[in-house]
């Protein structure tokens, strides 16, 4: 007897609990197994690149906050680095240190969310996520202290930072960096010794080294596949060449490795913050920048290592007050490129785990 079977199309998203925002995947399913997937983007495409052409350089800073809204500080920094490169502005040393502290705090916060949502996608009923949120709230409190905002900071400005840190910031930061390693250790014990988590993440969604490079992935995804590539080491910007820290890498490139890398990077970030706190000099926090910036004609590409990978801003100036062209190199979008190859042939549950491990932010993917 011949049974007639048919593959069927299942639409995951744009409103789906596991798509981290408004992403959509059109799965062609053969039972539980994914035969094909068509990622569909654009549900959060706000046209930032076009809007930025109509506003001045300093006004465009607000858009960067809303790109990767889990890592607004690093977005600010990337844009500031690009504009400073274009206009040739020297940033005061204290401002650079403050930027480093904020960026590393942001990296911890973003990775906490990445790990938390990954466990949520694997099916842990909110518990790990909410513990991660507890730590994140502490970081948000620190940011609240310096700039009065929780999510969109607009703290870094072209040529420095918007305001100096208040007196109570450094003690609070010290307390945070002293306690966080203990919490990370605790979460790691809870998660990494959990058999179910290991079963669900190990050997799932393996991205080989060659593929990771060829697909232009960046950040934790690239490093999990065994490529030791980090802009902080490869092309040190700001004052990163003054700190001692490691670039954690893994070998296999599966979901578990991508999860591990994030945990290790958080630990490294704490080390960097501690060094920056010790070395923090006194002085100016803002370079002299004209109110209306008119960079010389030309183009510049400023890049930093964001939590999700290399974040770059490509700016073209025609000598006017507005950028002629602003392009964002979105690590989230490029990290999604191998998604199709990774999920074909796996089950739906694994597809969600793989998607969660790539750790994207739709604001940055769609822009």
């Amino acid at each position: 007897m011949a049974l007639k079977t048919e593959t069927f199309l299942v639409n995951a998203g744009p409103q789906h609990p596991s798509t981290h925002g408004v992403f959509r995947m059109r799965f062609i399913l053969d039972g539980e197994v994914i035969q094909d997937v068509e990622p569909v983007f654009g549900y959060l495409h706000r046209g930032i690149e076009k809007l930025a052409e109509g506003l001045t350089y300093s006004q465009d800073m607000v858009f960067t906050d809303r790109l990767d809204y889990l890592a607004s500080m690093t977005n600010n920094q990337a844009y500031a680095v690009a504009v400073e490169k274009l206009a040739g502005i020297q940033v005061p040393e204290r401002a650079e240190y403050l930027r480093v502290i904020m960026a590393e705090l942001m990296r911890i916060s973003s990775h906490l969310m990445g790990v938390g949502f990954l466990t949520n996608d694997i099916g842990a009923f909110l518990t790990p996520l909410l513990y991660m949120y507890r730590e994140r709230e502490k970081i948000l409190d620190l940011f609240d202290m310096v700039c009065g905002q929780r999510l969109t900071y607009n703290y870094m400005r072209i040529g420095g930072v918007s305001q100096d840190i208040p007196e109570e910031f450094l003690p609070a930061l010290k307390k945070f960096t002293d306690t966080l390693p203990r919490f990370i250790e605790e979460y790691e014990q809870l998660l990494a010794t959990n058999e179910i988590l290991l079963v669900r993440t190990k050997n799932v969604g393996i991205l080989t080294k060659e593929a990771a490079i060829n697909y232009s992935t960046a950040g934790p995804v690239l490093r999990a596949s065994g490529v030791k590539w980090d802009i902080r080491k490869a092309e040190p910007y700001s004052v990163y060449n003054r700190f001692n820290f490691e670039i954690p890498t893994a070998t296999k490139g599966d979901v578990y490795d991508r999860y591990r890398i994030k945990i290790e990077e958080m630990k490294q970030s704490i080390i960097i913050i501690k060094q920056a706190m010790e070395q923090l000099p006194q002085g100016e926090i803002q370079a002299k920048v004209p109110k209306v910036l008119r960079p010389p004609k030309g183009e510049a590409y400023g890049r930093i290592e964001g939590p999700k990978g290399e974040l770059g801003f490509y700016l073209v100036s025609d000598g006017a007050t507005n950028p002629y062209r602003l392009h964002i190199r979105p690590p989230s979008l490029l990290n999604l490129t191998p998604l199709r190859e990774l999920v074909i042939g796996v089950k739906i549950a694994d597809a969600m785990a793989i998607f969660g491990s790539i750790d994207i932010c739709m604001g940055e993917v769609d822009r």
Partner: protein, 203 residues
């Protein structure tokens, strides 16, 4: 017994799916010119309730306001403040609202959190239409209220109230979780004022 794998049906082809989606977007874009009825108009109408209906109303409204289950839907930045509101520090579950239903059929509240783009508009409208009555909508953040920072963009809906009726607006970019909690309490107050047994004159 052998399995005979049939080729994919034609309706699944990407071209057709994309085309229908595009048509949907264009349709909503045309529709948004039509003014949506003000969801608050009933508040000014006079009540002709007697004692029994009023107490039945009180019970029903109490239960509705005490267990508002939101849809588990996030659009953009504000979604993270919504999740923060659900997280340990702000703890929306005190109001019995921690059950974020993934299926709109079982939810009462749609929190539109973030920028709504034209491409997303038909989907959001569909989520709203899938929800069972009574349903409420909170527009959270300036993007949802008016398009906010991105109002001038070619891809952004200038305010969700062009697409679906909104009950409560919470300003901010993004609003802090405290603001969202306040907005939710405003919604509770509004629900408690509802009159369920009279026919609305306008309807």
């Amino acid at each position: 017994m052998e399995l005979n794998n049939q080729p994919q049906p034609e309706v699944y082809s990407d071209k057709i799916l994309d085309k229908t989606e595009g048509e949907g977007v264009e349709f909503v874009k045309q529709q948004h010119q039509i003014q949506i009825e003000d969801p608050d108009s009933w508040q000014n109408e006079e009540s002709n309730h007697n004692f029994i209906l009023a107490s039945a109303d009180a019970l029903i409204n109490w239960s509705r306001s005490s267990s508002v289950w939101p849809v588990n839907a996030g659009l953009a930045c504000c979604a993270f403040e919504m999740i923060s509101t659900a997280s340990s520090r702000f703890d929306i579950s005190r109001f019995g609202m921690e059950i974020f239903r993934p299926s709109p059929r079982q939810a009462d509240l749609l929190i539109v959190n973030g920028t709504l783009t034209w491409k997303m508009a038909p989907q959001l409208k569909r989520i709203y239409e899938q929800m069972a009555e009574p349903k409420y909508v909170i527009a959270m953040g300036s993007c949802a209220i008016s398009g906010g920072l991105f109002r001038n963009s070619y891809a952004v809906v200038p305010g969700v109230n062009k697409i679906i009726p909104v009950d409560v607006y919470i300003p901010g970019c993004p609003p802090r979780p405290e603001a969202l909690l306040y907005g939710i309490q405003m919604l509770h107050k509004k629900i408690k004022k509802q009159r369920n047994f009279e026919k609305r004159k306008s309807a």
